[in-house]
């Protein structure tokens, strides 16, 4: 049993990594996540507290969804480190580990201060991961990324400060009533990190600018930590149902138009997180189980997809669908693993998506939320279209691009193989995952009256299988019928990051700066000419003044002015005393 936040292992380990080189560095990158996994499970059942200033901080506490997230975050660090084994970027893995450790720190936080402290550390770690790519694109994208997150953090901090001042409590409580400005500010701060529109432009902007392995790490932590925090603070807030639905659709619409393979996957992160946010909004035990299980499965298959895209980028140096195609010839393993990830994200039967994501749509149906159910069902079909088929098709099949890259390095294949096995493993045998969900007994309550079914969730019913096959296969048909419309072009689609990348810079050039130039004479008069006149009149050091005084040229006018000023000051001071 340990009595410190388990996240510290990866944070301090990451700092230690920065001083290691060569083989010790590489071995440490694989050993640290294993220790972290051990630490997550070695945390005590009872909270660990720390006295700090006037507050009793709860630095380790197992909240309902904590174990799912803590486990997958450690597992992800291992898979990411294995994938990055052959990459030599001295900054990236230390930063990624600090980032992962901070995310684990958030999910074990028992009070809102501890939570926020780790939350902000994540922003630092993730920015360094983006910057470790060391290109001009990554530098400027990382700059925008950190600015957005610092603003989001400030908004959240304002909300937390107000909340703590008004309630006097730093406990993590459900704020889903949204009855104060402070809870709205906290929600807005979290939604920035969850990449929900209109705050989500940073995700498809910054993530694809990072390195092959960098994006694998980035895809896992920030958005899923936000889902966790929403679960503990805002479960059952109705507005999240609609925000989640909007995210699910937005992700698909943008992914359909995208040409960069890793930006397609970036938009599908938003789409998938939309499912989880919606589930948090529904807020029933089944929905929250679904959100947690989906987050677990999503981290694995999204990492797998990004590893496969990263391997292609690593081997070809190309990232646009218009430049890629026909890679199945020489990268068959990468193709196979990528396709498994693509099937899993589509919730294809016998993969992890089928046994986890379906819980969310099922929960929406169970609560008779017709709108949410229709949107989520349509989004499920759309996922198969934009990620399930589109990604493997345009990268590995489509036309022959003439590229004949060698198969990905062994360590990348091993990392992909591990995560592909997990995708299928969770699809075939989800029970171990179900036992660590927030409400492992939800099945008992729901079916108790019927006197049967003690299982949490049974994905493999004839009905569910047939309906899911129909939904997915026919959206596949839609893909090939509409292939002409889906043909990629060398374009991007403007997103909300346009406001700070284009609108404000242009406003500055066209409106604000000309305006400032226009009022410059006024400004110069107020700040320089006027003081100069006063100095000329009254300053004892002014040669003109001293010459006037000592050479007897002290006229009546300035004297009256001086006396008037003193009288005015006297009058004002007298009024207030």
């Amino acid at each position: 049993v340990i009595h410190f936040p388990p996240g510290l292992i990866l944070i301090l380990g990451g700092l230690l990594l920065a001083f290691l080189r060569g083989m010790p560095f590489k071995i440490a990158t694989l050993v640290l996540p294993v220790i972290s996994m051990w630490a997550v499970w070695a945390t005590p059942e009872t909270p660990v507290t720390l006295e700090y200033l006037d507050y009793t901080l709860i630095i380790v506490q197992r909240n309902a969804p904590t174990m799912v997230f803590g486990t997958i975050f450690s597992l992800m660090a291992f898979g990411g480190a294995l994938f990055a084994w052959n990459q030599d970027r001295p900054l990236e893995l230390p930063a990624a580990f600090a980032y992962a450790g901070s995310a684990i720190g958030v999910v074990f936080a028992g009070d809102i201060f501890t939570l926020f402290a780790f939350w902000e550390l994540m922003a630092i770690g993730s920015t360094l991961v983006v910057w470790s790519k060391d290109t001009e694109e990554a530098r400027s994208a990382g700059q925008r990324y950190v600015n957005v997150h610092l603003v989001g953090g400030a908004v959240m901090m304002a909300g937390i400060t107000g909340h703590v001042l008004t309630t006097g409590s730093i406990a993590i409580t459900n704020l889903s009533a949204l009855d104060s400005l402070w809870s709205w500010l906290i929600l807005a701060g979290i939604l920035v990190n969850a990449a929900s529109p209109p705050f989500g432009g940073w995700l498809p902007d910054a993530y694809p600018a990072s390195s092959e392995s960098g994006m694998v790490f980035l895809s896992a932590y920030t958005t899923k930590t936000s889902v966790y925090v929403l679960m503990v603070l805002f479960a059952g807030a109705d507005i999240l149902i609609y925000i989640g639905c909007a995210m699910a659709v937005y992700g698909i619409v943008y992914a359909i138009l995208e040409n960069d393979m890793r930006r397609i996957l970036a938009y599908s992160i938003v789409n998938q997180v939309g499912f989880m946010v919606c589930a948090v909004g529904i807020g029933t035990e089944m929905a929250l189980n679904g959100a947690a299980a989906h987050a677990f499965a999503h981290i694995i298959y999204k990492a797998l997809l990004l590893m496969s895209a990263g391997a292609v980028l690593h081997q070809t140096g190309k990232r646009k669908c218009t430049d890629l195609g026909g890679l199945y010839r020489t990268m068959p393993w990468t193709m196979a693993f990528g396709t498994i990830g693509a099937l899993a994200i589509s919730a294809f039967p016998f993969t992890s998506g089928f046994t986890t994501k379906s819980m969310i749509t099922e929960a929406a149906a169970h609560e008779h939320l017709a709108f949410a159910w229709v949107v989520l069902e349509a989004a499920s079909a759309g996922v198969f279209l934009h990620a399930g088929i589109k990604f493997p098709w345009f990268v590995f099949f489509q036309k022959d691009s003439g590229l004949r890259p060698p198969e990905a390095p062994t360590n990348m294949l091993l990392a992909m193989g591990l995560f592909a096995a997990l995708c299928i493993g969770i699809g075939l045998y989800p029970d171990p995952l179900y036992t660590i969900l927030p409400f492992p007994d939800a099945g008992h309550h729901a079916e108790h009256a019927a006197g049967h079914a003690t299982k949490l969730y049974e994905a493999y019913t004839a009905k569910h299988l047939i309906y899911q096959f129909q939904l997915l296969l026919f959206s596949g048909l839609a893909f090939f019928l509409l292939l002409k419309m889906l043909k990629r072009t060398e374009t991007i689609t403007l997103d909300f990051d346009w406001s700070y990348r284009r609108m404000f810079p242009v406003l500055w050039l066209v409106v604000f700066r000309p305006f400032l130039r226009f009022i410059q004479p006024v400004h110069v008069f107020l700040t320089e000419k006027l003081p100069a006149v006063v100095v000329d009149l009254f300053d004892v050091n002014s040669p003109r003044l001293s010459s006037r005084i000592f050479q007897g040229k002290w006229g009546v006018g300035p004297t009256v002015a001086l006396i008037t000023v003193f009288l005015a000051i006297f009058l004002v001071v007298n009024l207030y005393t």
Binding site: L257, D260, A381, R404, L477, T493, L494, R502, V510, R513
Partner: protein, 159 residues
């Protein structure tokens, strides 16, 4: 060796010639075209493993037929494995269908068509830009010839 190569250039029927340093394509008229001038698709056709089993028309036709069979099968099995007693809609009037089968198939197809058309025609037409859009911003300052904000004139104006 050199003479042999020049002989080859005069032949009209030769299409591809492999060399240790570069590959050239001879047009029927005897025009020499470097590989670098070819479109990447044309270049891909020169590669020895361009023609794979998977891309032969016969295979593609077979795959299409197999896919259609699977599609039909997924709908046909519905009444067999889901008895009428089990057939209940979550939202009567929304997710049921007068003739019982294929609702999810039609929904999947329809939803995808709607989303593709919406993104392509509505969002795409309004928000699509060349992928050099943001890169161009830095070079695009003709409307403002004055120095950029960072290298602005010193405080105090030009007096």
């Amino acid at each position: 060796m050199t003479d042999e190569r020049e002989d080859e250039h005069t032949k009209d029927d030769v299409t591809v010639m492999q060399d240790q340093t570069d590959t050239v394509k001879l047009e029927p008229g005897g025009v020499v075209k470097s590989v670098d001038d070819l479109d990447f698709r044309e270049r891909a056709k020169l590669l020895p493993d361009h023609d794979t089993w998977l891309e032969r028309p016969s295979t593609v036709r077979g795959l299409i037929i197999a896919s259609l069979v699977v599609l039909a099968f997924s709908v046909v099995v519905e009444p067999i494995f889901i008895p009428a007693s089990d057939y209940e809609a979550h939202f009567p009037g929304l997710d049921n269908w007068p003739f019982r089968i294929g609702w999810h198939a039609m929904f999947g197809l329809g939803a995808c068509v709607v989303m593709v058309v919406f993104s392509k025609w509505v969002v795409g037409n309004v928000l699509k830009r060349s992928d050099s859009y943001y890169r161009d911003l830095k070079d695009r300052t003709p409307e403002d010839p004055s120095p950029g904000p960072t290298e602005d004139r010193p405080r105090g104006g030009d007096a």
